[in-house]
Amino acid sequence: MDVFLQQLVNGLVLGSVYALVALGYTMVYGILELINFAHGEITMMGAMVALAVIGALALAAPALPGVVIVGAGLALAIPVCMALGLLIERVAYRPLRNAPRLAPLITAIGVSIILQNVAMLIWGKQYIPFPAILPQGRHDVLGASITDVQLAILLLAVVIMAGLTLLVGKTRLGRAMRATAQSRQVASLMGVDVDRVIAATFVIGSALAAIAGVMVSAYYGLAHYYMGFLLGLKAFSAAVLGGIGNLAGAMLGGLLLGVIEALGAGYIGDLTGGFLGSHYQDVFAFFVLILVLVFRPSGLLGERLAERA
């Protein structure tokens, strides 16, 4: 039983990681209907920038508490990512706002490739270790173990989701975002500065990405110029699973995807009598995604939107 519990915990933590990244994806998609492929790379950039600071500080001032050092890393990573997000939106996406769907998608792929390679040129192709400065405590809960960092990730995901929901639901900016998501033209007619709202969405999404990036690299202990790609893909699948454009959906989708992957990897060998094994872990996740979309094309929590004419 405690194996199951442990797998569940594993899945929830992995899922929170996906959820952190998925929230950013879903925000942008909700407003622009654009799969921002570059989001995963912004996450990576956040991790790399923060790690540069963290690595340097850990060497220069090892007496500082770990949380402070990580905080310093975040303090640089978040503004850098925000600026990056703003830049990308202005240069690559804004001119294509009225183009057919495929154009910004391709541009997003292009931006993603550019960011990957810029990171590679700056930081090299090596894996960069995350210094072991954070509390490494382990807690045993009902037979399953969970570390401090894992707990932090879980909590962070919940807090951020709550914060975002408040933002979108109760603030003026949030109202403007919802209006723009529903109909750009009408919103601008009602006096919403659509450009500013979209820029703000990107900025917030990028800040989230930076936080996610730092947490991911803290959890796994390393960062790498290629880490954003697979993470972004899984996170996007999670967002789609939950119903894209929907914050709670991103959270749900992320957690669900993580749990499915963990349980799948853990049990698929036994379930199929050794025919399939944990090497089919990724397949499992995609398979569930496809299944859900076949029966609920707009995702689990997505609204049944009428086809836009």
Binding site: I113, I290, L293
Partner: protein
């Protein structure tokens, strides 16, 4: 003959002669490696034309196209290598591979019929990954694909006793393996081009355009969108499977690593950059994106010659430039570098509605 037709014929003949002589020119000018690269370029032209049917004609965003390539390649490897000990001739295997790919095209397309653009993209991407992961892992308990080690020592194309992987001398001219494969690929590519052209200009093609432009209106006009979409997937997959079989016979070795997501994205970029839905554009995109990265390798030599050492690795540069090119083309030439006239009009929609309608009418009256 009127002079216009005479000029068209002259153009044809020139093109035919040019294509026939090309491998020798390339071999002379750039070396055998480039002839091999031209062969790869032809394979990619086939792939791009296949994807063009799905994305360009029918407007279905497929990010998992490489799965069909992989299927075609593995079918060839299964039936023409020591892996199962089966050695069928290529003219039996290639159609089988294409057929299997088509079947999978329908299989993978069926669940996606109700999905909107971006969801479709993610699902097809998922399918592509699923196929690759299966290929990578089906080596236990039954060894079907030999897992990550791939299948080696695949038979080359053989005409009777003559193997295309060996050089032959014909009338004083030496034909190396890449030369011989070139001609086979060329003929098949021309076949694919021909089929694409006929499809484009047929009821099926027009139905695809209607579905692409406005699916609801198309359904209202009585078009069976489900069957036509499945047909698009199947036809696209067929070309992918064909190219896959040829690839296996050419390289003599296949492994799941060659059939990853990046490949799918590459092929998509070929048609997007070249000119989506427009055959000359797609061919252009495929050729350029296959040959240009190789050309960029030479910047390494140039850097060494000029600066004494390598400042920026050409391989790094290659991907960076690719990303920049993608963004630049999308910003400044969203219809592609060689777009069809209709697309250019669509995407540069500046005129008023009446002008556009008139232009569209002129299109259909062509």
């Amino acid at each position: 003959m009127p002079s216009a037709r005479k000029r068209a014929w002259a153009g044809f003949v020139l093109l035919a002669v040019g294509l026939a002589v090309l491998p020798f020119l390339v071999d002379f000018g750039l070396g055998r490696t480039w002839v091999r690269l031209v062969d790869f370029a032809l394979l990619y032209v086939m792939l791009a034309l296949g994807l063009n049917i799905v994305v360009g004609y029918a407007g279905l965003l497929d990010l998992g196209y490489v799965a069909f390539y992989a299927l075609g390649a593995y079918v060839y490897a299964w039936l023409a290598s020591p892996h199962f000990g089966v050695h069928l001739p290529f003219w039996a295997i290639l159609p089988l591979g294409a057929l299997l790919a088509a079947a999978f095209g329908v299989l993978l397309g069926a669940p996606t019929l109700r999905l909107r653009g971006d969801y479709l993209a993610i699902v097809t991407l998922g399918f592509g990954e699923i196929i690759r992961i299966f290929m990578n892992n089906l080596n236990a308990p039954l060894n079907i694909t030999n897992g990550p080690q791939g299948i080696n020592l695949i038979d080359p194309l053989r005409l009777g006793d003559v193997s295309l992987a060996q050089s032959h001398v014909l009338g004083g001219i030496t034909l190396s393996a890449p030369h011989q494969y070139y001609y086979v690929f060329l003929i098949l590519t021309l076949g694919v081009v021909f089929v694409s052209m006929r499809l484009e200009d047929s009821r099926v093609g027009r139905a695809w355009v209607a579905i692409r432009e406005d699916e609801i209106a198309a359904a209202a006009m009585g078009i069976d969108t489900r069957n036509f979409k499945l047909l698009a997937f199947a036809m696209g997959a067929t070309f992918g499977g064909l190219a896959g079989g040829l690839f296996a016979s050419f390289q003599g070795f296949i492994s799941p690593e060659s059939f990853n997501l990046m490949e799918s994205i590459m092929i998509l970029c070929m048609i997007v950059l070249g000119g989506m839905g427009h055959i000359p554009g797609v061919i252009f995109g495929a050729v350029v994106l296959t040959l240009l990265p190789e050309a960029l390798r030479y910047t390494g030599d140039a850097q060494r010659a000029l600066l004494g050492r390598i400042v920026v690795d050409p391989a790094d540069l290659r991907m960076l430039l690719f990303g920049v090119a993608l963004v630049a083309v999308m910003l400044y030439r969203p219809a592609g570098l060689i777009p069809s006239a209709r697309r250019r009009r669509e995407l540069a929609a500046k005129g008023d509605v009446l002008e556009q309608e008139q232009a569209s009418l002129a299109d259909t009256a062509r």
